[in-house]
């Protein structure tokens, strides 16, 4: 295993002689996307015209199907097959793994008469056209035997248990320190169920060739999808060729395979022709995972000078009864502020709602909505500026583990952000600024998000025309992976971008873990870098060992790769010339990355600071953004454009979190009442005003050989809290229940006499 010390040595990426690292190059696949010619999973060319699938879904939250009648559907025009639990093809039992190395177990569809959540797939229709399939699915008649379920989170908090295998973290003596603290805050913050609302609903196109199935599907994890399908169908994973080249957003919600993948493959097998199937927008809300609601109690005890002496963050959340998942909303707080006496932990309620799962910055995204408002509340009690309070609690080392930070620029983020934003304009006293009908206020919050590196491989080949092709079982869900991998490959090999091709999203390619947890760039990128370094070695050997090369017999350690050339001082030739002559069939090598043995000796995170200015309509309680700015430190930035888009996108998610996003459960039915994009409001263009972000210079040599870190999730962390704090500063109304809709803000305003 490698050590972080090995990563500190200069290398082609950190030296960046070609200047491609950090450059804001246009997206690699950008021309395809702006012309609409990038085929997403439902749009790929199949060997013949696909039949169209459509799912019918459960109308109750819990119980069983007492009777199902598919006769009318079967008789409907164009229908090719109708399946329910009575006649669906056999699949492996749920949760089983025929191959113990499979990353995902079996997840069968239509496996029994049991209903475990509203919106569960209960029947599947394939027809010749979409119109016929949809019409037939509506003709499936079902009678249910409903059973009472646990569907009301707030009413079920008393059923919360410790998540399996977890314990609370106690450091020092929190109860005593809290009791003795002269200044304290004890508040509970509620964050609701949220939905990813990826623009592209989940979809799959599938066809078979003998025993082998090809599936194009919209999924963030190539291997996970391949294995889930293989296990469910009880076939070897080598017989599943999974492709996912363009993905219309993921945000964690496409980290797993859903029924579209299984049913399209089964349907195509049964019919002997390609089948494609997409979720409807409405089906996405119940049929795929959501971010669970979290109830977070924060207790802070401080000395009059602001130093925290007692610190507790306790989060209660929920998941589906048969799909355990914990939203670790307290974890971030273990690394953020110094305090000698600490308590952090989680509780979990098992419910009969659809599955809870990861959504952009799981843990931090809801978690920071609590502490970063509690810090604002504490700052006010202490008469301190919220930034100053945070600076006074800036830890020297990780406050929980005592480990050194790999690099930590949180204070610089806050200071530079404050200066750029004009934080000095903020009045410490709330409700001091009025602009016409608007009460105006400012708020800030810190941001922290962990940094991760997972094992990954990459393959790279160079052909006789000099074109370098990187291949990886990686995905680009809009994050910019194609682009940054092209930059890494080009910079490593010393060639212009035009000489590099990137091919991804294919289970036949060397595996990478996919997109998630903001580990994608570092993980896939480090493997790509390693593959590039191996290609350099191979080409060096080729050149110095080839009597026809100008580099022949030269010292391998002096070989350089620049401007498309391989050279030793003034002896050089183009890579194309070398390969065409010495290896006309091309050269292919692989590379890999795994976490360093000592990487976890450091507390490794990305950081930032958010600043928000809002206006609150003094009549209606409507909150409108006026300005938002963030400063972030996230290692070396690979692409100024795509990284900034990731970060500002995350900030805008924070705006949605603060103001609009919530899936409301009707406890009578155990279903979300808002299940479309008119009912679940994500930010629209008009909501986002004067929003910008910058990155600090940084390189984290404990992170990976390139010193890069992730940026996909950092932007949302804390962003909603900055907005909430701004609402308070504008109105004097402290809301602790997200999202802060006009009704809630108005209720608060009425309570304070506004």
């Amino acid at each position: 295993m490698s050590s972080v010390k090995d990563w500190a040595a200069p290398n082609p990426i950190t030296e960046n002689r070609g200047g491609l690292i950090g450059k804001g190059v246009d997206r690699y696949e950008g021309r395809l996307k702006v012309t609409g010619s990038a085929p997403y999973a439902y749009e790929v060319d199949a060997p013949s015209r696909p039949a169209i699938g459509y799912m019918a879904t459960a109308a109750i939250a819990k119980g069983r199907i007492a009777r199902i009648d598919t006769k009318a559907a079967e008789a409907s025009p164009g229908v090719l097959l109708v399946w329910s639990h009575l006649n669906a093809p056999a699949q492996a039992p749920r949760g089983t793994r025929a191959n113990p190395r499979s990353q995902r177990p079996s997840n069968p569809v239509l496996a029994s008469d049991r209903i475990e959540n509203f919106g569960q797939t209960v029947a599947f229709v394939v027809a010749d056209t979409f119109e016929n399939a949809r019409a037939a699915a509506n003709l499936v008649e079902i009678e249910y035997a409903a059973e009472p379920g646990v569907v009301d989170f707030v009413a079920s908090l008393d059923q919360a248990d410790q998540p399996p295998g977890e314990e609370d973290v106690h450091i020092g003596d929190f109860p005593a320190a809290y009791a003795a603290a002269p200044v304290s805050v004890d508040e509970t913050y509620e964050s609701p169920i949220q939905n990813h609302v990826q623009m592209e609903p989940c979809a799959t196109t599938a066809w078979w060739d003998g025993d082998k199935v090809t599936v194009h599907t919209s999924i963030q994890m190539v291997k996970g999808g391949q294995h889930a399908l293989a296990e469910t169908l009880a076939i070897p994973s080598a017989d599943v060729h999974l492709l996912t080249r363009y993905i219309g957003g993921g945000f964690g919600g496409k980290g797993q395979a859903y029924d579209d993948l299984i049913l399209a493959a089964l349907g195509a097998r049964a019919l002997g022709r390609p089948v494609k199937l997409a979720y409807t927008r409405q089906q996405m809300f119940h049929g795929t995972i959501h971010r669970p609601a979290v109830s977070m109690r924060v207790r802070l005890g401080a000395q009059p000078d602001g130093r925290l002496t007692a610190f507790a963050v306790e989060a209660t959340t929920h998941c589906a009864r048969n799909a355990i998942f914990t939203e670790h909303a307290a974890n971030f707080s273990r690394n953020l502020y110094a305090a000698p006496n600490r308590l952090t932990g989680h509780r979990l309620v098992k419910m009969d709602l659809p599955g809870a799962g990861p959504m952009r910055a799981p843990g931090e995204a809801p978690g920071m909505l609590s502490l970063e408002c509690a810090m604002d509340e504490l700052a006010e009690k202490l008469g301190l500026d919220p930034i100053e309070l945070r600076i006074r609690n800036e830890p020297e080392v990780d406050p929980e583990t005592g480990k050194p930070f790999s690099v930590r620029q949180l204070v610089r983020c806050m200071r530079e952000g404050a200066a750029h934003f004009g934080w000095e304009r903020r009045k410490a006293q709330p409700r001091q600024v009025r602009d016409g009908r608007w009460l105006v206020g400012m708020g800030m919050a810190a941001a922290i998000r962990g940094n991760f590196l997972l094992p990954a491989k990459a393959g790279v080949r160079i052909d006789a025309d000099g074109i370098i092709t990187l291949r990886q079982g990686m995905t680009d869900i809009g994050t910019g992976t194609y682009t940054i991998l092209a930059q890494i490959a080009a910079e490593t090999m010393g060639v212009p971008m035009e000489q590099v091709k990137v091919e991804m999203g294919d289970s036949d390619f060397p595996p990478a873990p996919g997109s998630g947890g903001q580990f994608g760039a570092a993980t896939a990128g480090s493997a790509a870098y390693d593959a590039g370094m191996n290609l350099r070695k191979a080409l060096t050997e080729l050149a110095v060992g080839d009597p026809n090369s100008p580099l022949y017999g030269g010292p391998a350690e002096y070989v350089t790769f620049e401007n498309g050339n391989i050279a030793i001082e003034n002896r050089s030739e183009t890579l194309a010339a070398l390969v065409a002559r010495a290896a006309p069939e091309g050269v292919y090598v692989e590379g890999s990355i795994s976490p360093a043995a000592d990487a976890r000796d450091y507390s490794q995170h990305t950081y930032g600071a958010h600043f928000a200015e809002v206006g609150v309509d003094v009549v209606t309680g409507e909150v409108r953004m006026r300005k938002m700015f963030g400063v972030f430190a996230a290692g070396r930035i690979l692409n100024a454009k795509t990284a900034k888009s990731q970060i500002t996108g995350g900030m805008i998610w924070g705006v949605g979190t603060a103001l609009t996003e919530s899936n409301v459960v009707d406890p009578r039915y155990g279903s979300f009442i808002n299940q479309d994009m008119a009912g679940y409001l994500v930010p629209a263009h008009a909501d986002i005003v004067d929003l910008d972000a910058v990155f600090l210079d940084e390189a984290d040599d404990k992170a990976n050989p390139m010193g890069i870190k992730g940026v996909g999730e950092l932007g949302i962390c804390g962003a909603g809290a900055a907005v909430a704090n701004a609402i308070y500063n504008a109105t004097g109304v402290r809301l602790r229940d997200y999202p802060m809709t006009p009704e809630k803000v108005l209720a608060g305003m009425l309570a304070v006499g506004l």
């Binding site: 804001g24 246009d26 997206r27 696949e29 950008g30 021309r31 395809l32 996307k33 702006v34 012309t35 609409g36 010619s37 997403y40 439902y42 749009e43 056209t129 979409f130 119109e131 016929n132 019409a135 609302v197 990826q198 623009m199 592209e200 609903p201 363009y246 993905i247 219309g248 957003g249 993921g250 945000f251 997409a278 409807t280 927008r281 869900i477 809009g478 994050t479 910019g480 454009k641 795509t642 900034k644 888009s645 990731q646 500002t648 996108g649 900030m651 805008i652 998610w653 479309d676 994009m677 008119a678 994500v682 930010p683 629209a684 263009h685 008009a686 986002i688 005003v689 929003l691 910008d692």
Partner: protein, 168 residues
């Protein structure tokens, strides 16, 4: 029933189920996959195309309603080798991420710029009888029918501004 539409300058006659939306006709019958199905209910804008020059949600229109109409999709605006100015501006400004809402955003922007040039009012105007000054606030409001969950909104506004500025 038979319907003839002119798509990107080419007359196309289709004989399909009357339930077929314009969006599905484009995607499933004409192979024009650029127009996207994000919600199928007029709540996201990913399906936006231009019909007789006006931007509409093609998911909430039946093909049979468009007999004789001129339809322009993203494929009709420009090609990878010869981008439309709005496409070029989106590329340069990184005005998209996953790309799924992008064709709709671009078609919408093209339609919106014409509406603004024609002096159509918006709700952010102080006086709805006044002339249109295509400020950032105006662009944001007029583009609000196109949701971008990746939230490339600032870059989209910058891209459109750069084109509007060129045109002015």
């Amino acid at each position: 029933m038979k319907t003839t539409i002119t798509v990107n300058g080419q007359a196309r006659t289709l004989d399909v189920d009357s339930r077929t939306t314009l969006l599905d006709a484009l995607r499933e019958h004409l192979g024009l996959i650029g127009s996207k199905k994000g919600c199928d209910h007029g709540q996201c804008g990913a399906c936006t195309v231009l019909v007789n020059g006006a931007r509409i949600n093609s998911c909430l229109s039946l093909l049979v309603m468009h007999d004789g109409d001129q339809v322009t999709t993203i494929e009709g605006l420009g090609t990878a080798e010869n981008l439309h100015p709005v496409q070029q501006a989106f590329l340069e400004n990184d005005a998209f991420q996953c790309g799924y809402c992008t064709p709709g955003q671009i078609c919408s922007a093209v339609g919106m710029l014409q509406e603004a040039a024609d002096g159509w009012p918006s709700q952010v105007m102080e006086d709805v009888a006044a002339l249109v000054d295509l400020t950032e606030a105006e662009i944001r409001e007029r583009m609000s029918g196109n949701i971008c969950r990746c939230s490339a909104y600032p870059q989209i506004v910058a891209a459109i501004r750069s084109v509007a500025g060129d045109a002015a």
